[in-house]
């Protein structure tokens, strides 16, 4: 507790999740989660299917179907749970979707230009002109090695699974969030796409931003080195440690965690 108190007093903490409880359709999914993320950190949240990883991401991003039943989420000193999803985005929270949605007929240019200018308006900046925006898009395309054709198509329409995930990283690079949450961004990616996605994340890393990588497998963490690894199981963080925890999990599997928990419960 002593350590936690000290960290709470530290106003350098970007995200504080405290004893978070949440339910979907009356079923409790998150059963008391506490996590703190500081600028410059990369956190990995690992856990078996159904443990609540995506629900946690959904709560931070503000999805309506998740009901927060207890606890707090504070982002840069502000109560995140009171904010509309678009305001959370404008405050600097980005969610890389596990299943990015297709929006037929809406070009990536129009979509991202609208988004960027909403962010700029929020910061009291003038909107970007078409040429300024296209220049920004070109720069970011190169940075995240995205096929330039992708950016000329409708949002995710007809994209392959890998293209959709790359497109998430591309959008992240344009919006330059303070906190990016990547929800199973590695699922369904071949090794080349995985490398591109991971490179993108690493290139965008700065001392003043943070990333939460949600993943089932350790493999993404070969490319993105986390500072902290949390293991989520049955709606609770059951273990938090450094990057070596990911390796241990990969070697021993999630059953090892489950058995550990049972042992603890018995003793």
């Amino acid at each position: 507790m002593g350590r936690e108190d000290k960290r709470l007093n530290n106003n350098n903490i970007m995200l504080i999740i405290k004893d978070l409880h949440a339910a979907i359709d009356g079923k409790t999914i998150l059963k008391g989660i506490s996590i703190e993320v500081k600028p410059g950190e990369i956190h990995a949240i690992m856990g078996p299917n159904g443990s609540g990883k995506s629900t946690l991401a959904a709560v931070i991003a503000g999805r309506e179907f998740v009901e927060v039943t207890g606890g707090t989420v504070t982002f840069e000193g502000k109560n995140l749970l009171e904010m509309a999803p678009e305001d959370r985005s404008k405050e600097g929270i980005f969610l890389g979707f596990q299943y990015p949605t297709e929006i037929p007929g809406v070009s990536m240019v129009n979509f991202m230009k609208t988004a960027v200018n909403e962010h700029r308006k929020h910061k009291g900046l003038e909107p970007l002109s078409a040429s300024e925006f296209l220049k920004l898009m070109r720069e970011k395309k190169e940075l995240v090695e995205i096929d330039s054709k992708l950016a000329n198509r409708s949002v995710n329409e007809g994209f392959s699974g890998g293209e959709k995930k790359k497109n998430e990283i591309f959008q992240m690079s344009i919006l330059e969030p303070k906190l990016a949450i990547l929800d199973e961004t590695d699922s369904g990616l071949d090794i080349d796409a995985l490398r591109i996605v991971a490179n993108g994340v690493n290139k965008l890393k700065r001392p003043d931003n943070a990333t939460i990588v949600i993943t089932h497998y350790q493999r993404l963490l070969d490319y993105i080195i986390p500072d902290v690894v949390h293991v989520l199981y049955d709606g609770r963080i059951v273990k938090t440690a450094g990057k070596e925890l990911a390796m241990e999990l990969e070697a021993k599997g999630y059953d090892w965690i489950k058995q550990n928990i049972k042992k603890n419960e018995l003793s």
């Binding site: 991003a61 503000g62 999805r63 309506e64 509309a84 999803p85 678009e86 959370r88 985005s89 404008k90 980005f94 969610l95 979707f97 990015p100 949605t101 297709e102 929006i103 037929p104 007929g105 809406v106 129009n110 979509f111 991202m112 609208t114 988004a115 200018n117 909403e118 962010h119 929020h122 909107p127 002109s129 078409a130 409708s154 949002v155 959008q171 919006l175």
Partner: protein
């Protein structure tokens, strides 16, 4: 474009019907009701020749034998035809000769609608015929167009100045016996636009007619006749608005288009009649017959419509493909929100050989709106090599709205190829949340998604009007989700 996009976003925050004001203009009206005396009175007001009065009377006598059509998927309240005023005109003599003759209040009205009647003020390259209630108040650029031999004027002026042309073409595409509303229009039509593009002329500017209903208890019955002679081209636009009133008002128009050999006509509509309030009170009944005749070989007629207004819409812009290798197109976006109803679509009649037609219809339903697509593709016996592609998509924005499709196919030639595709989709919460997560509000997200859905049609509109149409789509769907 840049500025326009931002303006669209800003306008969305104030999404009421913007054109619902009433102008206090001194009007000259005839008594309400419909009989032969009324028709004679209208004809007399316009100093019409005897043949035109005869045409009206024949139409009226025929109309009296007809019943209002019941086949559309619409709930139409009883219309008291004897309670309508069939002629109402701004009192001050509004000739097209000089702006000084026009009532300043009338000028202000069109200024407010964004349709300045001074030539130098309007969007460059667009000539306008402004029609209020029963008369045309001003046609701009008449002289400029006349230099290329193009006739663009009010229907009334055309009857006076070009009686032979009007006589030759009037009623040849939509006969006065065609249907209940067409017969009514043929009996009482008051004004509208006339346009003739001579042989080999490519019309140097967009032509447009802006229709405004202003007076209460009146109906608007205009007629547009557009003739494109051989090898000519014209792009034509119409827009329309009306004041907010609790009573319904009837608008029953006719548009006839004739395209001769190698001629091309592009006809675009941005329809924004008052749709009624959120409870479904008031609004315009928009019962319109629009038909084009591809009379010449290699001729082409293309209809594009963005329909956001009216309490009830009943219209089927059609093409009769008589010339060999002629082409008909229909691109439509129709929005029904709150209690609006629309039964709209197209008819493509293939008569000539190797004729082609395309139908792209996009319905958007929100609130308790009901949206029906009704289309007929007919291939006659001798129309060998005919080809049609039809696509009708429906987008649903609420649980209480409805989308219906009634496609009819009648194919009497074995070489014809006819394709039909249809989809129905709902705006997904996932799509909206995806936009939200990128910083885009729900209202703007719906605008983006709907405009994306309608893009294929909007892209067919001339640029200035595409922007207008995008904005309209967004405004007419304001507050319709969630």
């Amino acid at each position: 474009m840049e500025k326009d996009q931002d303006k669209i976003l800003n306008d969305v925050t104030s999404g009421e019907y913007k054109y619902g004001f009433y102008s206090d203009i001194e009007m000259e009206q005839i008594p309400k009701g419909l009989n032969e005396d009324i028709i004679r009175a209208i004809s007399e007001k316009k100093s019409e020749p005897g043949w035109l009065l005869e045409f009206r009377l024949k139409a009226f006598r025929h109309w009296q034998t007809m019943k209002m059509p019941q086949w559309a998927n619409l709930k139409i309240p009883t219309i008291a035809y004897q309670d309508i005023i069939y002629y109402a005109a701004p009192k001050k003599k509004a000739s097209s000769e000089s702006l000084d003759d026009i009532d300043p209040e009338l000028k202000r009205t069109f200024d407010r609608l964004g349709i300045p009647l001074e030539e130098q003020k309007y969007l460059t390259g667009v000539a306008v015929d402004a029609v209020m209630d029963s008369v045309s108040v001003k046609t701009t650029f008449r002289e400029t167009l006349a230099e290329s031999g193009i006739i663009f004027c009010s229907f009334s002026d055309a009857v006076k100045e070009y009686p032979e042309l009007v006589k030759r073409y009037l009623g040849t595409v939509v006969p006065y016996t065609d249907n209940f509303f067409a017969s009514l229009n043929s009996a009482v039509f008051s004004d509208g636009s006339f346009c003739y593009i001579p042989k080999g002329v490519r019309c140097p500017m967009e032509l447009s007619t802006y229709f405004r209903i202003n007076a209460a208890n009146t109906g608007q019955f205009e007629r547009t006749l557009l003739v494109a002679d051989e090898e000519s081209y014209v792009s034509y636009l119409e827009g329309c608005t009306a004041p907010m009133r609790d009573e319904n008002q009837l608008h029953a128009a006719i548009v006839e288009i004739i395209a001769e050999n190698n001629a091309e006509v592009k006809y675009s509509t941005v329809q924004n009649w008052y749709p009624g309030n959120k409870e479904g009170k008031g609004g315009i009944f928009n019962f319109v017959t629009k038909r084009g005749l591809c009379r010449g070989d290699n001729s082409k007629i293309s209809w594009t419509q963005v329909e956001t207004g009216s309490a009830i819409t009943w219209k089927y812009p059609s093409c009769i493909l008589r010339g060999d290798n002629s082409t008909g197109e229909f691109y439509s976006v129709a929005v029904t929100n709150n209690h609006q109803q629309a039964d709209t679509g197209s008819k493509m009649i293939h008569i000539g050989r190797n004729t082609k037609s395309t139908i792209v219809s996009k319905g958007i339903s929100a609130g308790e709106g009901q949206n029906s697509y009704r289309g007929l593709v007919k291939v006659l016996k001798n129309a060998s090599g005919a080809r049609n592609f039809s696509q009708c998509d429906s987008l649903l924005l609420s649980d209480k709205c409805g989308a219906h499709t009634f496609p009819y196919l009648e194919v009497d030639n074995q070489t014809a190829i006819v394709e039909h595709e249809a989809t129905t989709s709902k705006i997904g919460e996932d799509q909206i949340f995806y936009c939200n997560q990128r910083g885009i509000s729900t209202e703007d997200a719906i605008g983006l998604i709907v405009n994306g859905y309608a893009r294929e049609v909007i892209n067919k509109l001339p640029m200035e009007f595409a922007v207008e149409a995008q904005k309209l789509l967004q405004i007419s769907l304001e507050g319709s989700v969630g």
